[in-house]
């Protein structure tokens, strides 16, 4: 088991290494370099030379890569071009904000999705299922920029209950954030919950039709006991990976929602740094987002292994 975990971590690190190479090479092969893209029309003479010197662009690419990579490993992403401040300082509050938005959405969205999925499956084709399923399909099909805009129109403008856009400094405290993020959370949860509820529903229905559930009924196991002991543990296993992908998607920045609500999270930072041609920040973001995806999927895989006795003993035997 330990060997397996180490193996998976190793694979994850290799993935990250490849991602870092691709982003680095990608930036290299683009016409011009960080200085010419940043300085634009002023990219000549002394300003350009100074910039090149400052960023160390005059040394060979592989040396720069090694330099950059070893700094990244130590947690130092270098300097941002636009703000001319350390990237860590740029990223810090953004990561925190994204974390807050993601964790609130997760805490509300995932339990809701599971409960809705189970309800729709157990009352399949009955009134609760038809109602919930209609709503979930509806909220799944509306693109988030429309639902977010509608939410602003109805709740913020017509009713005036909540602020329409988030106007807070990026280093606001948790409590300041909370009141501001209700609408973004609702907008995100609508789509996320709908997707996951559909998945949980089909998974539960599939397990309910299995031989072992029929056996449990014929053994005289009371209905709810059967649902909790025999159905859910088996039905929710495949959901773990979907939940993991959703969490990674949330942490990686929900770009559209953040832009619509003017929320200072990672997603908006991606857009901003790309439009500002702030290549060091883009590189740093690529690595961070990749790490989030790799890390969360690793955790999900290990959880599935842990919870599925079948896979567990298979792996140990190997």
């Amino acid at each position: 088991m330990l060997l397996l975990i180490l193996k998976r971590i190793g694979l994850g690190l290799i993935t990250l290494f490849i991602v870092s190479l691709i982003t680095f090479v990608g930036v290299e092969v683009l016409p011009g370099d960080a200085c010419t893209t940043y300085l634009e029309r002023e990219a000549y003479g002394a300003a350009l030379d100074a910039c090149i010197k400052r960023l160390g662009l005059d040394i060979p690419a592989y040396e720069r890569y090694l330099d950059w990579a070893s700094n990244v490993v130590r947690g130092d992403f270098g300097y941002s071009l636009s703000g001319e401040m350390p990237i860590n300082e740029v990223l810090g509050p953004r990561v925190k904000n994204s974390l807050v938005l993601a964790s609130v959405s997760i805490l509300i969205g995932i339990p809701l999705a599971i409960v809705l999925g189970i309800i729709t499956a157990l009352w399949r084709d009955k009134l609760p299922d038809i109602m919930i399923s209609t709503i979930t399909i509806f909220s799944m099909t509306i693109p988030e920029f429309i639902s977010a805009t509608l939410l602003i129109l109805i709740v913020a403008i017509w009713l005036g209950w909540l602020p329409g856009i988030v106007i807070i400094p990026s280093d606001a405290t948790f409590y300041e954030l909370l009141s501001n993020i209700i609408l973004p959370v609702v907008a995100i949860s609508m789509i996320m919950t709908a997707h996951m509820a559909r998945m949980v529903r089909s998974s539960v229905i599939q397990v309910m039709a299995s031989d072992y559930v029929q056996m449990a009924i014929l053994k005289g196991v009371p209905y709810w006991k059967m649902v909790f002991r025999h159905v859910l543990p088996n039905a929710l296993l495949p959901a773990i990976n979907v939940v993991a992908l959703t969490i990674a998607w949330l942490l990686g920045g929900v770009v559209v929602t953040e832009v619509v609500f003017n929320y200072p999270g990672l997603g908006r930072l991606v857009i901003e740094s790309i439009s500002n041609r702030d290549l060091p920040v883009v590189q740093a973001l690529a690595i961070i987002l990749a790490s989030i995806y790799v890390g969360i999927n690793l955790i999900a895989d290990l959880m599935t292994l842990m919870l599925n006795p079948r896979l567990k003993s298979l792996q140990i035997r190997k």
Partner: protein
Amino acid sequence: MNEIIESVKNLSIGFNSQKGKQISILRNVSTNIKKGETVGIVGESGSGKSTLALAMMGYIKQGLFPLKGECLFKSEDLLKMSSRQLEKIRGRKIAMIPQNAGQALTPNLKIGYQIDEALRLHTDLNKTERDKKISELLNKVRLPSPETMAFRYPHELSGGQQQRVAVAMALAGKPDLLLLDEPTTGLDVTTQAHVLELLRFIAKDTGTSMIYVSHDLGAIAQVSDRIVVMYAGEIVLEGPARKILKEPIHPYTYGLLKSIPKLSLAGLPASMPGSQPQPGSINEGCSFYDRCNLATNHCKKNSPDLEHIKELDTNVRCFNHKELINQNNNLQTSITKKLNNSEAIEVLKLKDVSISYAKQKFFDQLLNKISDQNPTVKDINIDIKKGETIALVGESGSGKSTILKSIAGLLKTKDGQIKFENDRILSSDLKMRNPNDLRAIQLIFQNPDESLNPNHTVEQILSQPLKLYFNLSGEELKKNIIDLLKKVRLGEFYMSRYPRQLSGGEKQRVAVARAFAAKPDIILCDEVTSALDVSVQAAVLNLLQQLKEDLGTTYVFVSHDLAVVRAISDRVAVLYQGRLCEIGPSQNVYKFPSHPYTEVLLGAVLEPDPDIKPKLVAEDIVEEKPPEKGCSFQGRCPRKIGDICNSEVPPWQIGENGNAIRCHINIEELASLQQ
């Protein structure tokens, strides 16, 4: 003894068709289960036997609903009970042993928990008493080391062990009635015989009544006191087991018994024409009319009632049953088949073939070799003559299908050669074979549902090999397809049908036609009849034999069913753990002296005759891989003589009948031991 435990009265169960019509799949079924009695319910797939059995627990599958009638358990109607009331009865009064225990045990719960759950629900025992009881139950179903077994997950057990766990679980609530839904189907022959023996013992030991549902008359014959025969949702014959099996007075039962291949009979079983009618397709007359050779015009218009015949203590649903009385001698006959001319030349030779499933190590992959010292299949030497049917027999894990795959080119061999026609070496890699060799060797799969493309019509399915190998098109292609369909006795109108519109037997015929489309020299048959009902199986066996006699094809026939092999094959090779044990002409392999493994297999075969009991000579342990040295059967051999069996590969000995046996015991000695 005569107290009635459960009685089913005029029960009909059905569903609403898409056109809003009510279609019944169980029609007016009435029967009684007495205390301490074992009733066998037998019928082919679609006869409604499982629906009836589940209804007897008050369980109706989704989509179905009771139309009329009642299921009285101790004079209370199960079909009218609330789910609360049913929870008190299920598992406590009536318990179920499912068909496929591997799928019926919840995968995330340990064996011990699942048995404990039944105990908690249905007894008042406390924790320590329950723990003791779990060990007791596991011990009772003869599981090895019951103390540790409780901490295992279902997937860590073999098929036979899972079935035993299901039995233990059912016994936990001390039920009055045990319902067994095909409990041994899907198990190996020896395991099946052991589980049946256990069930018989439990019935006797606890005095529980049992309802044993199966399609297998052989298994039913071993356990039942009384037999109910179902056809198209009706009971057609019901009576004491011995009477039903020895003097069947319903033409369906008679035909069914005749279509079962028997160990004692060489030659092919007689087949019944046609197939069971679809639910809802019978409007008037007897449901068996289309397939019955006793049918008269009267049967076409009027449906017979269940008639009680006092002197036989039997109920029968047939107008003409009297014509069948005293015909029982005919049951022991079969169709003789033309013997193969053994002078013929050899078309396929397997020389020292070994096959390994071991994953290649990195360096071996580079050197393109397989370094497995103990391969799954080893030292296979078989010469196959033109026009003969050679059967490979063995239980699951014997390597019989593995060998077939290598001949087909689907699996690379580790060592040895496959030689085809004039000793030309045939690559075991499909990509290296020339098109003519590919055409010459065709494969028919076990399950036609999976081997026929559901989105292709029969015409498309059959035209593929014709286009590929013979470049046919237009009128000529069509003419060939019609010819092929005629060969497998299907009409021209089948061309436009999709596989889902065909019955199981018809599908397998299409699969046979597809193999013959290539005009092959050798056809590899992988358990081709084991997914089929008995009456259909007999028809497919007869068809294969007829085609062979007409076209001179060679068959390599893989099966786990010794009786089927006896019926179809000219020569038999018995395999255990990927090693040959015995090979010879089939009439001799089925006679003593035999290899001890053949002896065990033959002893475990269930015959549809209550007087022939299986002989259980070896333990039904499951061996995961072949032993590294010595005889492959050393672990289970009832005639093991000592260390020599563990250390040395036994020599081949040729008996006077021409069958070769690989055993350390002298062949004459074996003969005298087995007399």
